[in-house]
Symmetry: C2
Subunit: 145 residues, 2 copies
Amino acid sequence: MNIGQAAKASGINAKLIRYYESIGLIPEADRTASGYRVYTTEDVNILRFVKRARTLGFSIERIEQLVGLWRDRNRSSAEVKAIALKHVTELETKIAEMRAISDTLQELADACHGDHRPNCPILRDLENPGAACVKGPSHSTEVAA
Amino acid sequence: MNIGQAAKASGINAKLIRYYESIGLIPEADRTASGYRVYTTEDVNILRFVKRARTLGFSIERIEQLVGLWRDRNRSSAEVKAIALKHVTELETKIAEMRAISDTLQELADACHGDHRPNCPILRDLENPGAACVKGPSHSTEVAA
DNA sequence: CTTGACCTTCCAATCATTGGAACTCCTATC
DNA sequence: GATAGGAGTTCCAATGATTGGAAGGTCAAG
């Protein structure tokens, strides 16, 4: 199987497969006499594993760890679980941040007439954060020093 | 005011201020005879505006638009609102994606003993997505397309 | 033998930010 | 006035993951 076929079979395009090989995430593929990379179904399994892990948002670095554990018959599931939960924690943190930002912007947008006139609470907030806050006059989002 | 003081006053570090200038996000600062950049309180206001917008996750490209509208006395608030709501939509999409991924991983982690033994539903899922799913067949993390 | 699809490598761009090197400048102290 | 240091200047490079293109070699079919 050449790289194009492996790409189709794994869902990772050829360019990216070469890149993954170059950074050592996947082993170097065998080559034909003319230099073409050759892939076995086992190689494709690794690629599919990597693909799935990327889809779940794992970084390349962590995928290296996961691949290592996957191939290690003496692994402990605790190690795998720890990596997964670390990732979950990070996801939850980012989600919370984005949730807060989205809500703030939604509130500002709600307070904005959205007409032809220039007056705009959104710009007022960017100019002077908190001052244009909808919900309360003074005790809103005191953050700064 | 030199760049270091402007950095402190705005919360954007000097390196980044120079970068913002180089890409045209902020106007070129005046210079002293010896070439040092000089900032007025008005310049700092722009920097603080940019800082706040970045904190709210706006891209540099959109911040350029927002700065333009901010400086335009004839702007319509509708334009500003549209940019903000576009950003909110994108945030909500990403949040939903991350939410799905996080939940999937949490379920897999829940199903994993996390002990010294190698058996691990998380790795099984990476190997063969869906097969190790706890709740049902059609409960994957399909996001794209 | 030519065409076209596919492979190869290398280099560059993305986005926003940070880091370093090499150099100049300002301020303060001796 | 010499000198030390901190802070300014420019330019180049790296980050993470991926994509794009150019320039050239290879394979299969017609």
